[in-house]
Amino acid sequence: MRIRAGMQGDVAEVKCLMNHVMETGLRKDAKTGAVVPAHHITNVTAKMNGKVVLDAQWGGGVSKNPYLAFRVKGAKVGDEFEVSWTDNKGATEGGKAKVA
């Protein structure tokens, strides 16, 4: 996961780019015609200095290789953000970035 955090006034903006196929479970394989099983991120959690600031639930409607940006007021340079996701097969991945 790529993650970057920067300040805009007294608000930190955190931008993340995740790697995931985000299969809805509705798409059919072009060659075989078989339905491609659902395989997508279901939960995303973001913490600032260990405290949860964002707790999200996702379906397969979020685009492949998801982009996510959010903003936190009262952050300052040096604060650490940690973002992690879990998918419907139990895989998980995370990343950290300090506010620059």
């Binding site: 998801p66 982009y67 940006a69 959010f70 097969k89």
Partner: protein
């Protein structure tokens, strides 16, 4: 996971029960997800999706900005940015009313996170992107129509 599936199938008894379970998505992997609004994300109609995120009786609000392109050439990647200026915004859900599965994402904010989220979504057809915002125990909504020239849900 396959063993689990077998057991569920064995235990389900009649074929009718099995097909109902399959239709309800009970036999998909990831059954053990504790914190996931399964009913909402698997709802196939707008009413079900809106209800699942507490948006059934949401009041339209001019203080929510839904930023999305007027025309999306590729429905697989539609940038959407929601900004809520409603004080105390604690939750934003994104719903696309013509998608096969309308509920896309549901964000909860805490500890200083602002009522803002930017992401990219799939849209199967021209439709409204609806934002459902919760603030101070009330629900609000706003929407923007996006014309989709090539659908992105691969259905």
């Amino acid at each position: 996971m396959n063993n689990l599936r077998r057991n569920v199938l064995k235990g389900a008894g009649s074929a009718g029960v099995v097909s109902v379970a399959v239709m309800a998505g009970l036999l998909k992997p990831g059954m053990a997800l504790a914190n996931w609004n399964k009913a909402g994300f698997e709802s196939k109609d707008m009413g079900g999706a809106m209800g699942a995120v507490g948006g059934g009786g949401a009041a339209a609000s001019g203080d929510i900005e839904v930023k999305a392109p007027d025309i999306a050439e590729n429905g697989a990647v539609v940038p959407v940015e929601i900004t809520s200026k409603i004080a105390g915004t604690s939750r934003i859900a994104i719903v696309a009313d013509k998608n096969s599965l309308p509920l896309i994402a549901d964000f909860n904010f805490s500890n200083g996170a602002e009522g803002f989220v930017s992401t990219r979504i799939k849209m199967g057809a021209t439709s409204n992107v609806v934002a459902v915002v919760h603030a101070g125990g009330k629900a609000y909504k706003a929407q923007k129509e996006v014309k989709v020239t090539i659908g992105g849900c691969g259905g």
